[in-house]
């Protein structure tokens, strides 16, 4: 989706403003919003790509005005509703009305350190061979899906060179829709800044972006 999350290359947001001695969290609710997001993710009811899509579809103005943890938390509420784990009345009131729905897993305290240390690897086995090898010239396809994608708009129809061929990774475009992990070969693609941004860019500069094979075509 050419949505508010697709920020690469936009202008007009002003300077980057780091906060001196920034704390890890700015309020207690941020800690809980983070922890609830992580813990609910471990229930296996949805995947990370679906979570990202939920955050992208909160509305452009909300996306631009809410803090990142408010985005995370609002998306979490919606994920819980969308997947039937609780209804809006329960979420508003903070009290269970309907019976709980079984989830694949529940993250128990004793398993938490191990689960965090393990994470959620996305490399998968895949038969066959990748279409591209390092040094190949490629072009990012001109795709404008209405759903989730990780091909940023600033790359569409831009030419680059395969920098590294990686493993097969879970494919976000289908995974976000619940249509399966559908692993695809992943590549680090090297794009000249002048190809992306025109003659005003520094000819020495490059942007390296990880692209799944369906995002690319041979040129």
């Amino acid at each position: 989706m050419n949505g508010p999350q697709d920020m690469g290359g936009l202008q007009g947001f002003g300077p980057v403003v780091p906060e001196p001695n920034e704390p890890v969290f700015h309020a207690d609710w941020e800690k809980k919003a983070m922890a609830l997001t992580v813990a609910m993710g471990f229930t296996g009811t949805w995947n990370i790509d679906r979570s990202r899509y939920e955050r992208e579809t909160l509305g452009p103005v909300n996306y631009l005005t809410w803090s990142y943890y408010k985005i995370w938390f609002s998306a979490l509420e919606n994920l819980i509703k969308d997947h039937g784990l609780a209804n809006g009345e329960e979420i508003a009131g903070g009290k269970s009305i309907a019976p709980a729905v079984p989830t694949k897993r529940v993250l128990k305290a004793e398993d938490t350190a191990g689960a965090l240390a393990k994470g959620g690897p996305v490399v998968r086995d895949k038969a066959g061979a990748p279409a591209f090898k390092p040094g190949d010239d490629v072009c990012a396809r001109n795709l404008h899906p209405t759903g989730h994608t990780r091909l940023p708009r600033y790359l569409r129809s831009r030419r680059g060179v395969i920098h590294k061929a990686r493993s097969a990774h879970v494919y976000p475009d289908t995974n976000a829709r619940g249509e399966g992990e559908n692993p695809q070969w992943l590549y680090s693609v090297r794009f000249k800044a002048t190809e992306l941004w025109g003659e005003g860019a520094n000819p020495n500069d490059h942007v390296h972006v990880d692209c799944w094979e369906p995002y690319l075509e041979r040129i």
Binding site: F13, V24, A27, K32, S188, A193, N204
Partner: protein, 208 residues
Amino acid sequence: MAHDHDHDHDHSELPEMDLRVRALESLLVEKGYVDPKALDIIIDTYENKVGPQNGAHVVAKAWSDPGFKKWLLEDGSEAILSLGYSGRQGEHMEVVENTDEVHNMVVCTLCSCYPWSVLGLPPVWYKSAPYRSRAVIDPRGVLSEFGVTVADDKEVRVWDSTAEMRYLVLPQRPAGTEGWSEEQLAALVTRDSMIGTGLALSPGEVAS
């Protein structure tokens, strides 16, 4: 000409979010979806245990041990795991080395992807629209705001974290640190130097 910038967060979020988060936590605990003690462990992990000190350890070791550095650049995930750092948002690591020819800088234009296992949770500016929008189109402008000047004839290489690959910048080792211990070296390695929006500190910049 631009009179007002409007990208600051709404600092009045607190009371509303406090209520909403408490309500959801109660509900999810009551339903049995989350274990409140697990939440405490998650928070403690990212507030107190995982942070840029992990990455600084990795960098200092690479500066000190050529064999480790080679391994780190070839297989970041495994080399970092050997120091005990792994897990969520660091499952697939690539370490990119700053040299005399290349300055690396990491962004996630599409959300907030960041190497949690070695740097902890990202700062607000990393997740902000100004950084995400400009890092790819105006990296040198962003760098100059961070006080970093890269010569015109040196490559600035921006890594946009669109997949589950996570990037750690291996900054250049500062001059004048010959014979320093790993611990001494680690004190020179700032978070920003591992994102690429800073350089490692020089010996004169740390209290010795």
